[in-house]
């Protein structure tokens, strides 16, 4: 199954300029957010750890662009791009990363559990594979209540070796549930290469074992991702789900924190770094003649300002207090 990984995107007349610029802006927002967070993290402002998604913007943005507002996503330990793509504001996210009480989860969740149910994003599940059965259950509720919503369930290729993957996909399959299982195959699970953990060359091949449709797509081509997801969502809404989408992509940064990613192959890096998802779209837009470089730079600058404002708000916002410690949970013993 050869997948064509082109080094340019043909931008067709099918899509309006504003739609395509919207995709561009969201991808740039993901990239700039992550780059800014990385700096904040390195300067010691942010606690814990972070898993970043530079290089994987097209999968997040392409998938979510094909969903409706009332559709849901589930996410992983690497959730920032998914969140931005589903409509969380960089401010509510930055507040959460700073552990502030105005964050999207009141500072209780943090980077690995970013989410906002009002925007259709379940708090990210940081246990690899842990979000997949949830997605099946959410879709089951849509089916039982005869709603037309779908769930897009994000996970990495590494997660497909957990039992949760098998059990969730199989359940969704036997009940024809409206789940798009979105596998972002960035070729590594932490430091471990895909080829060391999996014998099938394409993860979409696994779909056949569950009797569902699977498809592998160039995950750095945001338009292709959008089209594949839209088709999958239509199938799901018609009761022909679930669908397994494998999006081929690459992480431009370490797995977490200060990981220098020395385990990534140099030639492989060169190949993928030359296919940056944002550059691919930007070049396609400019060469189509409809969009000027200057327009793109304006967007970049606007996004940078929004993120800087979010950082300022997040730095200055109040921290949670002791009273917040024991709210939002049933607990037997509160006096420690």
């Amino acid at each position: 199954m050869e997948i064509e990984l082109t080094d340019s995107i043909e931008v067709s007349q099918t899509y309006s300029k504003s739609f395509l610029l919207g995709l561009y802006e969201r991808m740039v927002t993901c990239r700039q957010f992550e780059d800014r967070v990385k700096l904040l993290f390195l300067e010691g402002t942010m606690p814990g750890t972070i898993h970043q998604s530079q290089g994987q913007e097209a999968s997040a943005v392409g998938v979510c662009a094909a969903l409706n507002q009332d559709d849901f996503i589930t996410s992983t330990h690497r959730p920032h791009a998914h969140a931005i793509a589903k409509g969380l504001t960089t401010e509510e996210m930055m507040l959460e990363l700073f552990g502030k009480s105005a964050g999207c989860s009141k500072g209780k969740g943090g980077s690995m559990h970013i989410g906002d149910m009002s925007k259709g994003m379940v708090p990210a599940i940081a246990i690899v594979g842990g979000g997949m059965p949830l997605a099946a259950g959410m879709a089951l509720s849509f089916k039982l209540r005869q709603r037309s919503q779908v769930v897009a369930c994000f996970f990495g290729e590494g997660a497909t070796n957990e039992g949760a993957f098998h059990e969730a996909v199989n359940l969704a399959a036997i009940w024809s549930l409206p789940v798009i299982f979105v596998c972002e195959n960035n070729l590594y699970g932490a430091s471990t290469a895909y080829s060391k953990t999996t014998r099938v060359p394409r993860l979409s091949q696994r779909a056949e074992a569950y009797g569902i449709r699977g498809e592998t797509v160039d995950g750095n081509n945001v338009v292709k991702v959008y089209e594949a997801t839209r088709q999958a969502a239509e199938e799901c809404r018609r009761g022909e789900g679930p669908v397994l989408l494998e999006l081929l992509t690459y992480r431009r940064v370490g797995h977490s924190r200060r990981d220098p990613a020395h385990y990534q192959d140099k030639d492989e890096q060169a190949f993928w770094f030359g296919r940056d998802p944002i550059d691919l779209l930007a070049n396609g837009l400019v060469s189509s003649g409809d969009v000027s470089e200057a327009e793109l730079r304006d967007i970049d600058a606007r996004v940078a300002q929004t993120i800087e404002d979010a950082v300022t708000v997040a730095r200055e916002a109040p921290l949670p207090t002791e009273a917040d410690l024991t709210t939002d949970v049933f607990a037997m013993e509160l006096n420690r």
């Binding site: 750890t49 559990h113 690899v128 957990e162 430091s191 949670p320 024991t326 949970v329 420690r336």
Partner: protein, 336 residues
């Protein structure tokens, strides 16, 4: 004699056991990838160079590889399995609690399961799913031995004892005590390094250790809380003389050492990182009251976390986790 951190002592202990016995092997995620991490906290760093066939990197499949370790152990091998964060033990709970712990008994004593399972615990700014103190979930499983070293000497000696033992042994290690370096270094760590002899030694399973002698009150703690308890004992000087015991073995408890101390002091405080309800402290307290009712001159006291998930925001996390001030307050309370 050399001075080592816990990671260094564990790494050396593992290497020495692998050298000594060809049946010893390591199995886990990202433990031996060239250019990688050597496990989440560098314990097995570079060991793949010395033992290319016995450091097995696995897919992300805790149920699978821990179950496989149990199977290999049944056949007489001595696997050292590793989860990156102890929270992931839940995924392998079936293999640990239903198989590893029970096979010796169910087979009428014909099967041995000489498995070692290493698992890092502790809240470190990573949010609710990478933070739990999992000791509580295992002390009630008959068939398992459990240790929790608080310094490098013990870490190496207990590891060696665990490898040589014929029953499954869980080793809980604390992220803030490892002394990991480089990209995997933690912030806010406590120094747990110690002198480690050059010659072979073991620390017997099932033993506690008096870390500081005193006469007014016995403080029982392990892992990070042991260090906080020692600091608290200094804070209440000179007015109060606190004896601090490193419980170190959570299954079985060393009632002899604990009892001898209570005989002297008549007062007990149990300090635990993790929710109070259903914790290890509950079992210790009940055991003390059953065994030494006449020696107690005050009710047993617990210092633990509230019954809540571990919060992300550092301010909340610090309120969640007991610290030296709270322990000192409890010491003053019980002796007043």
């Amino acid at each position: 004699m050399k001075h080592q951190s816990i990671v260094e002592a564990l790494r050396e202990g593992i290497a020495e056991e692998m050298e000594r016995d060809p049946d010893v092997f390591c199995i886990g995620e990202d433990i031996g990838v060239p250019g990688g991490f050597g496990g989440a906290f560098t314990v097995t760093l570079d060991l793949e160079k010395r033992f290319p066939d016995r450091i097995l990197d696995t897919p992300i499949s805790e149920l699978g590889f821990i179950g496989a370790a149990v199977g290999a152990a049944m056949m007489g091998m001595r696997p050292i399995a590793d989860v990156q964060y102890s929270d992931f033990l839940f995924l392998a709970m079936d293999q640990i609690a239903n198989n590893a712990a029970k096979l010796r008994y169910m087979s009428g004593g014909t099967i041995k399961v000489p498995l070692v399972l290493r698992a890092p615990v502790g809240a470190t700014g990573r949010g609710s799913q990478h933070a739990q103190n999992m000791e509580r979930f295992f002390i009630g499983v008959p068939g398992l031995k459990i240790v929790a070293p608080s310094n490098a000497y013990d870490a190496k000696g207990l590891l060696k004892a665990a490898v040589r033992d014929d029953d499954p042994v869980l080793i809980f290690e604390h992220k803030l005590l490892y002394g990991s370096k480089g990209a995997r270094a933690e912030s806010g760590t406590t120094n747990a390094s110690s002198d480690v002899p050059d010659e072979d030694y073991v620390v017997p399973l099932g033993t506690a250790s008096v870390r500081r002698e005193g006469s007014d009150v016995t403080v029982l703690a392990w892992l990070l809380m042991l260090h906080e308890s020692l600091a608290a004992a200094s804070l209440v000087e000179p007015g109060i003389s606190a004896e601090v015991i490193d419980v170190r073995s959570l299954a079985p408890f060393d009632w002899q050492t604990i009892g001898a101390s209570i005989e002297k002091t008549g007062r007990v405080i149990i300090v635990e990182e993790g929710p109070k309800t259903g914790g290890v402290g509950a079992e210790l307290a009940a055991g003390i009251m059953e065994r030494f009712p006449d020696k107690l001159i005050a009710p047993v006291t617990r210092v633990a976390s509230a019954d809540i998930p571990v919060p992300f925001s550092p301010v909340l996390e610090n309120l969640y986790r007991p610290d030296r001030q709270r322990i000192a307050a409890a010491i003053r309370d019980i002796t007043s």
